[in-house]
Symmetry: C2
Subunit: 264 residues, 2 copies
DNA sequence: CCCACGCATTTACACCGTAAACAAGTCACG
DNA sequence: CGTGACTTGTTTACGGTGTAAATGCGTGGG
């Protein structure tokens, strides 16, 4: 069952072997014994995925781990840093993804493509966590969401520069790529979250007037089926492809710095 | 003074007449008398802009208005809804922007361009508020950040459809446009917030090792000047232009619906 | 005059993050 | 074995938060 449906989203948590979904937080056999920073972060991610970000509380997370809230403070300085640790841990799942490489051994396009899908996989696996990635202030001024860790930025820049990009081009590519990834995934995740998140409308009135009155917006109403259609995967692919194409142009232009001779 | 510098960012709060910067919350002359939902929302925006989102508390906002916290509850159901009201109010500043039109009277490209810059102006004017726009769950499943209000979505779709886009093309353009705007502005705002936000490093050691050890990231270190360069305005313009170009292609193709004849 | 009503305050409560004191292992070493 | 230091988790306590409920308090109409 769940045989590989060709129309399925390749980055959705169900449509894949499960990489980048589970965090190997508690490799020990037993569950209860031995607190640990990794275990705490893993539990926090699990908790957020399950109950939402607002529900995460030191006390509740403690309870979830079978421990008192204050116990967490021995491994985490405070709640803010715990959240920082959460986004770091989530991003670190990239290292465990066999489809994402740190070096552009098969060309920069392959590198960027794999990286993008890896990040998307993470975003879809942790839709409640991902907004954190976008919101939390970055460590260094230029390391920005969603490629938070310096290691990935380094890898990104190296990959492009090794592939022939100038330094300027690599940096501008980093910016374009980051903003594309962040925007697209944030939007996609927010839509996902709503589609399943809030299904509580217990006031089942007779004809149930929708939340807001759609009265004055005929076009929106008419296009509602199209608007609520979920073609995220295809759109992502297309936008990504477009970005890569754009970068290719940049690269080609940057390779012939002065000579007006593309030689066709 | 502050004469129009050609290199200045046209969307920055200082580089402009001031539209979309001040919210006309309290048109009444006096300050203290008469609470009011608009006044509360305006004060909340002002407060967030000034002290950051985390600092916003019912009690503090009350104090800021010269009133007790519970007084706010007569005009706002609760804190969550207050924040919803804040993003709504911020987005509503678009209506007061003379450079942004609700209809594409001068062509859809002009419309999209003006809208994008209008939203950018708002984002830059309220960098602390804008992440809220991205994070808050949308009212309807398909009305998503950053074009939260149905009225703008309606206007957007109408503008494109009136300009010859098919319904499908208009919807997909809406998605591409939204995600572009959101991603770019979120990144830009987050970078802005850091650049000025955290200037507190009172531990002025002798050689002051930067926050994290930049040891293992030579490329990042080498490109730091480039990475911290702020060319947001130009990048925004370029990415926007590219998006418009892409949409133009979509439009052209969508105008020849079936004939398998691109001719050449 | 008075009283009802709209508006702001006061009070109260459960919950939050976290500082500080405390207890309960665990382990090295004499 | 005793004993002290160290690790780990708990208890207690405090100030702050969102908000329900009761309380005051002008101010205008009968």
């Amino acid at each position: 069952m769940t045989e590989p449906d060709p129309t399925a989203d390749p980055d959705s948590p169900e449509g894949r072997g499960g990489a980048a979904a589970a965090i190997p937080a508690a490799p020990r056999g037993a569950g209860r014994a031995g607190l640990d920073r990794r275990r705490i972060l893993g539990a926090a991610i699990e908790f957020i995925d399950e109950h939402g970000l607002d529900a995460l509380t030191m006390r509740r997370l403690g309870a979830h781990l079978g421990v008192e809230a204050m116990a967490l403070y021995r491994y985490v300085p405070g709640r803010e840093q715990l959240l920082d640790g959460v986004v770091e841990a989530v991003i670190d799942e990239l290292y465990g993804d066999p489809d994402v490489h740190l070096s552009a051994s098969r060309g920069w396009q392959d590198y960027l493509q794999r990286l993008a899908h890896g990040v998307r996989r993470i975003a879809l696996a942790h839709p409640e966590v991902f907004p954190l990635v976008a919101t939390r202030p970055p460590a260094a001024p230029w390391v920005r969401p969603p490629l938070r860790s310096l290691r990935w930025v380094e890898s990104f820049l190296d990959a492009l520069i090794d592939s022939g990009f100038t330094q300027e081009a690599a940096v501008s590519a980093y910016r374009a790529y980051s903003s594309f990834l962040l925007g697209h995934l944030l939007l996609e995740v927010s839509q996902k979250g709503v589609k399943i998140g809030t299904e509580d409308h217990p006031d089942g009135g007779p004809d149930a007037a929708q939340s807001t009155d759609l009265g004055g917006y005929p076009t929106v109403v008419r296009l509602a089926p199209l608007l609520s259609l979920d073609e995220s995967a295809a759109e992502f692919e297309e936008a990504l492809e477009n970005l890569l194409g754009r970068l290719e142009v940049v690269l080609r232009e940057s390779r012939t710095p002065r000579r007006g001779d593309p030689r066709s």
